[in-house]
């Protein structure tokens, strides 16, 4: 029974009720601190955010033990006992006002409010979270099989476990006017360029968004040229990739609720690398890196090249192949331009359908699309087999891109280049490609040239982008990322 049988006085408790009015998950419980006849207090918590077991075991039980509060006649005295360790919950703090108490409730605390308005918050965050699982978007062939989850602390733990270095710093920020998403700026002190770090923090703090619930809020707000089709923030769900980049001198960003890490500065060459490069023989890794560059080029240009050659420059096709194309095209009713665009469009539709549907259904759609529709389209002479081959090859090359955003950019640009090829043949392709190169050469990410080391960087580091050197001859880190380097 509470003191005098009264509920705690109005004030902070009422303010909390008012703050969470119309919130069905706000729960309160009146207790007597120190057992029957003790000080009346009200315990506030948000159902779902707190662990009921932890609250009972580590908060309620000690609070109701008479021995712990013997002699504590006032709320202040009781609060002092609590802070001194009478309640052994690992994280307890005084909430000076209703706003602080409300924030604590939103952060998974329960808040004990005495009649005089003294309030103490105890962290009893629920442990309900998705277990650390394998990455879904970035397949691991050989390497650690963990992936970031939605909980920031788990993510920082994953990073800490991989880099047990005192110089690993995790600076906390809060983003989003409404969501107030906890965000961490992760870097290796002494390894990271201070200018890049300062700029990353400045841009993060400058994010003027109500919510940080999707990755685009971060990537688009901190990128140098957010309207570019090329990604300028490296996004990964793999902690090993995240850590490798931290060790290169990049700045990492982790946000609560987002199961991925963000890395800046990003360069084009970085998007062509995968952590497996460090897990396989250096010659194989170098070959695969070169293959990725070739795949990027083919994914971008192959359909446009085919359209240009088939429509305007037939002399470029070897005579036997040209004859095969002519024979295959005899009964196709559509012009080359139309059938190529049609196939590209169909390919995008199939890809999107396969991506959005649940896994088994998605696979079925892919099989129906690729095998049945593709084959039927060729047999029905709706499209010629060469176009199917070209579009499929280009699509496969697009899938080789390690980064989803880079692959998506290539998909859009592929259409534009095909249109340029339709309008002006190889001249159009050359113009389009030149404009892409011009755009890429002009991009920067946090002061680092996007095409570094191919353009704007130091030429002698070119091999680092294209090859993976043996571990015993591992080259320096990118010069632009070295500490003290400012542009």
């Amino acid at each position: 029974m509470a003191e005098n049988g009264k509920r705690p006085a109005a004030g902070l408790a009422d303010a909390l009720r008012a703050t969470f009015a119309d919130c069905y998950d706000l729960e309160t419980r009146t207790i007597a601190v120190g057992g029957a006849g003790g000080l009346a207090a009200e315990l506030f918590y948000l159902d779902g955010l707190v662990s009921g077991g932890d609250m009972s075991d580590y908060v309620l039980r000690p609070l109701t033990e008479r021995a712990r509060f013997r002699g504590a006649r006032t709320p202040r005295a009781a609060a002092a006992r609590i802070m001194a360790g009478a309640v052994y919950d690992f994280n307890a703090r005084l909430a000076p006002d209703a706003a602080a108490a409300a924030d604590d409730l939103l952060s998974g605390f329960c808040c004990l409010v005495f009649a005089d308005g003294t309030a103490v918050s105890f962290e009893v965050k629920t442990g309900d979270k998705r277990a650390v699982d394998q990455p879904k978007e970035e397949k691991v062939v050989r390497g650690s099989k963990d992936a970031f989850v939605e909980v920031l602390k788990v993510n920082t733990m994953l990073v800490r476990r991989k880099i047990r270095d005192r110089q690993l710093k995790i600076r906390a920020l809060e983003l989003g006017g409404r969501t107030r998403t906890k965000t961490a700026l992760v870097y290796l002190e002494g390894f990271t360029n201070e200018a890049v770090l300062r700029e990353a923090e400045r841009r993060l703090r400058a994010i003027d968004a109500e919510e940080v619930l999707s990755p685009a809020v971060i990537t688009e707000n901190i990128a140098d040229r957010p309207r570019s089709l090329f990604p300028q923030v490296l996004v990964t769900e793999r902690p090993d990739k995240f850590c490798l980049n931290l060790l290169e001198g990049r700045v990492g960003i982790l946000a609560d609720g987002l199961p991925m890490g963000f890395l800046v500065p990003a360069t084009f060459a970085q998007f062509m690398k995968v952590p497996e490069d460090h897990a396989s023989h250096f010659l194989i890794a170098s070959f695969l890196t070169a293959l990725r560059y070739a795949a990027f080029f083919l994914a971008l240009i192959l359909p446009a090249f085919y359209v240009a050659v088939a429509m305007y420059h037939q002399e470029m096709i070897p005579v036997k192949l040209l004859r095969s194309i002519i024979n295959a095209k005899q009964a196709v009713p559509f012009p080359t331009a139309f059938e190529t665009l049609l196939m590209l469009f169909a390919f995008e539709l199939l890809q999107e359908a396969g991506l959005r549907l649940p896994n088994p259904v998605g696979q079925t759609v892919s099989i129906i699309g690729a095998l049945i529709v593709g084959q039927s389209a060729v047999e029905a002479r709706v499209v010629s087999p060469v176009v199917v081959v070209v579009v499929a090859l280009s699509g496969i090359c697009g899938y080789i891109m390690p980064d989803l955003d880079m692959g998506s950019g290539v998909r859009i640009l592929r259409f534009l280049l095909v249109l340029a090829a339709i309008l002006a043949g190889m001249f159009g392709v050359a113009m389009g490609f030149t404009m892409i190169v011009y755009h890429l050469a002009g991009l920067e990410s946090f002061g680092v040239p996007y095409m570094s080391p191919f353009a704007g960087g130091e030429g002698k580091h070119l091999s680092r982008a294209l090859l993976r050197w043996p571990m015993d001859r591992k080259r320096d880190r990118e010069p632009e990322l070295r500490p003290g380097r400012e542009r």
């Binding site: 305007y312 037939q314 002399e315 040209l322 002519i326 002006a424 404009m435 011009y438």
Partner: protein, 385 residues
């Protein structure tokens, strides 16, 4: 702003190069509307130039299509082929060879070469054949049948003739360059199997007929087979040729290749004494007759000497023909000038280096390999002689 600037620059560039708008679309053609021409035959006719276009054997083995037209000029004739309403546009970009009838070649082929060099669609790497004692039209027509065409036969000949040792297919570019620099050039001559004794199948086959000598833009004559073999050896165009050489103890079939000639002008007292032309060949024993002791040094030496003597004879015949015609189609003077740019170059500048009057000494040296004893292959490691 940047995008706008780029767009303007792009449009301006497109306009400046003349590749914009209708200019581009004028070249547009759907691939299925094309007829690929692989060989063009050119003859002299009453209307000027008679052109026969050969598509080569179709994908499914059907006989090639032949299109014929006549016009005052080659360009007009080719245009006329396009105008014939067949529902297909002819593409000459894949023309692999040009066959010129003897009459047309004698009348002058410089104009045809000029057209090919200027045409944006055709390539200067197109091989040139001269039809000996015949017309291109007849040759193309005779070769056209189920699964066979002159285009395919000539293409095969183009790659295989180096293994026959009797010729080489020069391209439009080679011939035009030779005519421009030396005033003469060689072209591969071809013919159909002659006579009534051969079968129909043999009649429909093309075979090499030695080199045709071109001078002043027209056909000046032909080299005999031996002269052609000598010329091919001197010019380093023999990848492989076969010959039977004799030694005292028997004969051996040899397969040999030439390494091209080395020309040195030799001066005596300030004036040109002679041109020394040296060629080195390497031969491998393909088959030895019974009793031939290849392991013996004197046998190998005898085989090499026999090979060298016969090849010297061929090369000398080619040089003699060149001197007799007064045409340096073997490029001896140009090679001598490269070897002695100052002294021989001065001679040429003065017009004193006339191939017809200078003394040319031809030497062919030979080495014979693969001379091991089959019964005991480790006995001798086939040292050359």
């Amino acid at each position: 702003m940047k995008i706008r600037a780029l767009f303007i620059i792009g449009v301006a560039l497109a306009l400046l190069t003349g590749c914009a708008g209708a200019g581009v679309f004028a070249d547009y053609r759907e691939v299925e509307q094309l007829e690929i021409i692989r060989t063009i035959g050119i003859d002299k006719g009453p209307e000027g130039v008679t052109v026969t276009a050969d598509t080569g054997v179709e994908e499914d083995g059907r006989a090639p299509k032949l299109f014929r037209t006549a016009a005052p000029t080659l360009s007009a004739a080719l245009e006329q082929l396009q105008e014939t309403p067949r529902g297909r546009r002819m593409v000459f970009a894949h023309t692999e060879q040009v066959v010129i009838g003897e009459t047309a070649a004698r009348a002058g082929l410089a104009g045809y070469l000029d057209y090919i060099e200027r045409a944006t669609e055709m390539r200067i790497g197109t091989g040139v054949f001269i039809v000996r004692d015949g017309t291109a039209e007849d040759l193309l027509a005779a070769c056209a049948g189920e699964g066979s065409s002159a285009a395919d036969m000539l293409l095969f000949l183009k790659t295989e003739i180096r293994n026959m040792g009797c010729g080489f297919v020069y391209t439009c570019g080679d011939i035009a360059a030779g005519l421009a620099s030396e005033g003469c050039a060689l072209a591969q001559a071809v013919e159909r199997a002659p006579g009534e004794t051969v079968t129909e199948e043999e009649r429909a086959m093309v075979r090499p007929a030695g080199f045709a000598v071109l001078a002043e833009g027209a056909l000046a004559g032909y080299l005999t087979e031996e002269e052609s073999r000598g010329a091919a050896l001197l010019l380093g165009k023999v990848e492989r040729d076969d010959m039977t050489a004799a030694a005292e103890s028997g004969t051996a079939a040899l397969s040999f290749r030439g390494a091209g000639m080395r020309v040195r002008p030799l001066f005596l007292g300030g004036s040109l004494d002679r041109l020394s032309v040296a060629v080195r060949t390497e031969a491998a024993v393909k088959e030895a007759s019974e009793g031939l002791t290849l392991t013996a040094a004197e046998t190998r030496r005898a085989l090499a000497q026999d090979l060298a003597a016969r090849e010297t004879e061929r090369a000398a015949a080619a040089v003699a023909r060149s001197q007799a015609m007064g045409l340096d189609f073997l490029g001896l003077c140009a090679a001598a000038e490269r070897a002695s740019p100052l002294r021989f170059g001065a001679l040429r500048d003065r017009g004193a280096a006339d191939i017809g009057t200078m003394t040319v000494e031809v030497t062919v040296s030979a080495a014979v390999r693969r001379t091991f004893d089959v019964a005991d292959p480790f006995s001798v490691r086939g040292k050359g002689a």
